[in-house]
Amino acid sequence: MANIVIDRIRKSFGAFQALKEVSLTINDGEFVSLLGPSGCGKTTLLRIIAGLETSTSGDVRIGDRSIIGLVPKDRGLAMVFQNYAVFPHMTVYENVAFGLRMQKADDARVKAQVEKAAGLLHIEPYLDRYPNKLSGGQRQRVAVARALAVEPKVLLMDEPLSNLDALLRLEMRTELKTVLQSAGTTTIYVTHDQTEAMGLSDRIAVMHNGVVEQIGHPVEIYNHPATRFVGGFIGNPPMNFIKVPVSNGQVAAGAEQLATPKDVGNEIVLGLRGEAVELAPLPQGLEMKVRVAEPMGSHLLLTGSIHDQPVRVILPASETVKSGDTIGLKLDSKRITWLSPESGKSFPAVLA
């Protein structure tokens, strides 16, 4: 069993706290992304797990065995680097075989494992070549094959797709998912790209300023962000946050009254996904002043304001709204996230 327990890991660089007591549990065979903007500590956390960086305090356990004091090679993990780190002076075959050679595996096993990994990543035709003759995508395949060839208990990936162009990234993403699903390896995947994290992960840990703001299933994180940061970081356009007055436990959205969580003050922040609305006639709908309307083909993107606060909403492409219009919106009450104006944290979902 290769579940990973990250137990109150802290890391300081001088006065700067890169990680402030991060705790996470990753189940055996699970694919978890560490998602966040640059400088949030995600790569530092990954490097601590790998053993390339030391933590200031805290523990990391793989399958109930503490690995924090071990050198990287004794941790039973493999890693894929952002810039591939495929050895240029070795053929693709020797690159994929590197970990096995270090384990002093016999030639028959090396050959079998290299061929298996190469087959999974479709790099058999390049086994005799040197990496410099390969494209970025092919090199990344070599890096992944090298990692899988040792059949690691845990696979760490540090922004493995960010050096690829957009089209290739999409292709590799799909392929990675297929390969890793069949390998069943516990994977920790660092990325700043939310679509990558959403598409690949069983769970996502959203990190910000050295803390995990939320960990959960991609859809859960998307629909019910735990904090204002998570809502704003995930989704394109990001979640809208509208500060609205509360009276008698209710918020008026046009003619409709929305129930708020219990025990809130006079004001609450209404977190609204751009697509959780539909067009409604005024005055029943909530009034939105449209500043710019952008037909995107697949949908219509509207930028404007509600209660004089900036919002972005998405309507079906078939709607005809023009820049400068004032429109009414009906909100999908099930998809509203209520947040505290003071702490920025969300309230538990209100059961209708």
């Binding site: 680097f81 780190a85 240029p88 270090m102 040197y130």
Partner: protein, 283 residues
């Protein structure tokens, strides 16, 4: 702009080409001619006179011996220095600066520094005397102590000439992204394996440059030897100097010069062949 005036690059390069042609190629041709002619007629008389001279065999032997001992030690020390300094965070620049100080000292001055340490009344003897190791002045640099003299010259040469190797090696090490070493570490390579299997192959071009430069310079060794050993330790350039200045025989001196050039070229070709750098296998 230069597309309209394609001669501009050539014009700008011309002075340096003319300068080198005038002050390098012409003397080179003259020297070669001087070495292989006698009274304006092609002849091997000078070469013959060179090889039959009593000091010739010794100078060839000494020069090669010195090169074979000094260059590998310098490469090894430079690799160790470069690898160590790579681990240093703060103060790295200062350490490198101090390590490169010998670069700024002329070879004759370096020889004189070591002479002041190793001569009979030098610092080394004073130290040994004060420690009670020796009872009276010991001589290290005389013709009666050839081994000590050789070691003294080798040490002085290593002290003086390692910095340039280190500079080249450090530049080479800086070109190797740290991810290569990290990847090797993750996949189970220990420090020695990382050094031999990852670092060394990746700094091959720098290693090649350092070896060529240092070997060519080692065959030209002169001032340090002259300061420490005088004619007790004949080397090729020293012999050329003696034929030129003391014997006033420019032709035999030219023959020595040509011999040194041939040895240097041969060494360079051997390195280029042995340490062939395949651009395909570089980062």
């Amino acid at each position: 702009m230069t597309q309209n005036r394609p001669w501009i690059p050539y014009l700008l390069i011309l002075p340096s080409v003319a300068f080198l042609a005038l002050l390098f190629v012409v003397p080179l041709v003259q020297t070669i001619w001087l070495a292989v002619s006698d009274n304006g007629v092609p002849s091997l008389a000078n070469a013959e006179r060179m090889v039959t001279d009593i000091n010739f065999t010794r100078s060839v032997k000494n020069t090669f011996l010195l090169t074979i001992v000094v260059v590998p030690v310098q490469i090894a020390i430079a690799l160790a220095m470069g690898t160590m300094v790579a681990k240093v965070g703060r103060g790295r620049e200062t350490i490198l600066w101090i390590w490169t100080i010998p670069l700024g000292i002329s070879d004759l001055a370096a020889g004189l520094v070591w002479l002041s340490i190793l001569q009979n009344t030098g610092y080394f003897n004073s130290l040994l005397f004060s420690l009670g190791v020796i009872g009276r002045q010991a001589s290290w640099l005389s013709y009666q102590t050839p081994v000590a003299l050789f070691i003294a010259i080798a040490v002085a040469e290593i002290w003086r000439g390692t910095a340039i190797v280190m500079v080249i090696i450090v530049a080479g090490l800086n070109q190797v992204p740290k991810e290569f070493k990290e990847a090797a570490e993750i996949f189970g390579a220990g420090p020695w394996t990382r050094f031999w299997r990852i670092t060394l192959p990746l700094i091959r071009p720098a290693l090649q440059s350092a070896l060529i430069l240092r070997t060519v310079l080692a065959f030209e060794v002169f001032a340090v030897v002259y300061a420490l050993g005088g004619r007790n330790f004949p080397v090729l350039v020293g012999e050329a100097y003696n034929w030129q200045n003391q014997n006033q025989n420019y032709s035999v001196a030219a023959a020595y010069a040509v011999l040194i050039m041939i040895i240097s070229l041969a060494a360079t070709l051997i390195y280029l062949k042995a340490l062939k750098v395949d651009p395909e296998r570089l980062p």
